[in-house]
């Protein structure tokens, strides 16, 4: 009889644990604290809101999201000095209403996405004028990030919510629509797909070497990993904060959870992300004194296993990791010295 009672007790405990549905999400075993190295800045360099940085040999490309006259800056590296400004602000020909991201191709061209003009512009590194301007398909709605699949094919995420990734060719035609927003929470809720896509706005990166495309949500804590060579989902990772939290008001997704990721890089062996974890409650309380950026670099394997977490002494918005020398260049909008470097 006693044995029977204990068996019953065991199943009841199991039942109880099943009722608690809050999963804790992925976790990192430990973390390393990193202090920024001093960077040799020769010129006076001041951006309004540096958001993306790319490195090509001894040149850095910085995207200033709120640039005063220009959005993009070419800098000498490692002794940082001004080289060239480009992508001027304006409504005229060869001018930009906004720049969401900057990409460098293997052939040395520079690609810029303007969500407001709905174009991708291609610059040759050595020339000042635009080589080609691609008008994005009309059926896309606010294309907020893109990745180069090759010199003539782009992966674009937009607000229509009809699919997760649109594959658009150099002529501005959609070649393929891939995957769906991986929501578990709002699957059966009758929100418009546009509202869901707003909440699930994500940053993208692709590595042509291994065919992995990864996305990180700006709200919440979700990492999506896709294998574009096999056209399959590798893993969808939900962190402690879970999927983006929002309320549907009018036709807008009003965020009420946390600011999550703001940049992602798919390396040869790992995926690097910067995570904020700032609750909107805190931002609403004091929006102008909350630090912009994240102080956590989270590293995952290409299969989605959490590998390492670094806690930085600065909050950064964007970064670039050089996997050969394990150096990370970060962008800090909160301090006078806006370009920082870390040894991973």
């Amino acid at each position: 009889m006693n044995w029977y009672c204990f068996k019953l007790l065991f199943f009841l405990i199991l039942f109880q644990s099943c009722i608690e549905t809050n999963s804790s999400g992925f976790q990192f075993k430990d973390y390393d604290e990193l202090t920024s190295n001093s960077v040799n800045i020769v010129d006076s360099i001041s951006f309004r809101y540096p958001f993306r940085v790319r490195q090509k040999d001894t040149t850095l490309y910085v995207l200033d999201l709120h640039g005063r006259q220009f959005y993009c800056f070419q800098l000498f590296y490692p002794n940082i000095a001004n080289k060239k400004k480009f992508a001027s602000k304006g409504n005229g020909p060869e001018e930009f209403l906004s720049v969401e991201n900057i990409r460098l191709s293997s052939s040395g061209d520079i690609y810029l996405l303007d969500a407001n003009k709905e174009t991708i512009s291609i610059y040759n590194t050595n020339e000042d004028s635009i080589k080609k301007e691609i008008k994005l398909p009309d059926e896309l709605l606010r294309s907020l990030d893109f990745a180069l699949i090759n010199d003539s094919l782009f992966a674009i995420a937009d607000y229509t919510g009809k699919c997760r990734i649109n594959m658009v060719d150099i002529n501005g035609k959609i070649q393929q629509k891939l995957f769906q927003i991986p929501t578990k929470k709002y699957k059966d809720v009758s929100y418009s797909k546009i509202v869901l896509a707003q909440a699930w706005r994500s940053f993208i990166d692709y590595n042509p070497g291994n065919g992995i495309l990864a996305m990180a949500t700006q709200l919440g804590q979700v990492i999506e990993i896709y294998d574009l060579k096999k056209n399959e989902i590798v893993n969808i990772l939900f962190g402690k904060y879970g999927e983006p939290e929002f309320t549907n008001q009018g036709s807008y997704a009003i965020p009420n959870g946390i600011m999550g990721y703001s940049d992602i890089q798919v390396g040869n062996d790992a995926i690097y992300t910067v995570f904020w974890g700032t609750p909107f409650k805190d931002i609403q309380r004091d929006p102008f004194n909350t630090l912009e950026g994240g102080d956590m670099i989270q590293v995952f394997s290409l299969e989605g296993k959490p590998l390492q977490q670094y806690i930085l002494d600065r909050h950064i918005t964007g970064f670039s990791v050089n996997e050969r020398n394990k150096k990370l260049i970060g962008l800090d909008v909160n301090n006078e010295q806006q370009i920082v470097e870390y040894q991973l």
Partner: protein, 70 residues
């Protein structure tokens, strides 16, 4: 001994039922609040305030802000 085991079992059953009722109550309340907000919002176009300069896309004015609220 037997008595104690029965007491524990009864306790666990009660806790399980209580947790379930409580969580479903919360979901119901959240849905109710959400519905009310949606009703209020749909009756007129919401006045969205976009605050500061940041990296969050304000869907109303197509600019990047620190936050946007209604």
């Amino acid at each position: 001994m037997k008595k104690n085991v029965y007491v524990i079992i009864i306790l666990i059953v009660f806790i399980s039922i209580f947790t379930r009722i409580n969580s479903s109550k919360k979901t119901f309340l959240n849905k109710l609040v959400l519905k009310n907000i949606e009703c209020l919002a749909s009756s007129e176009s919401p006045g969205v305030n976009c605050v500061g300069i940041g990296s969050l896309d304000c869907p109303v004015y197509n600019t990047k802000v620190i936050l946007y609220v209604i």
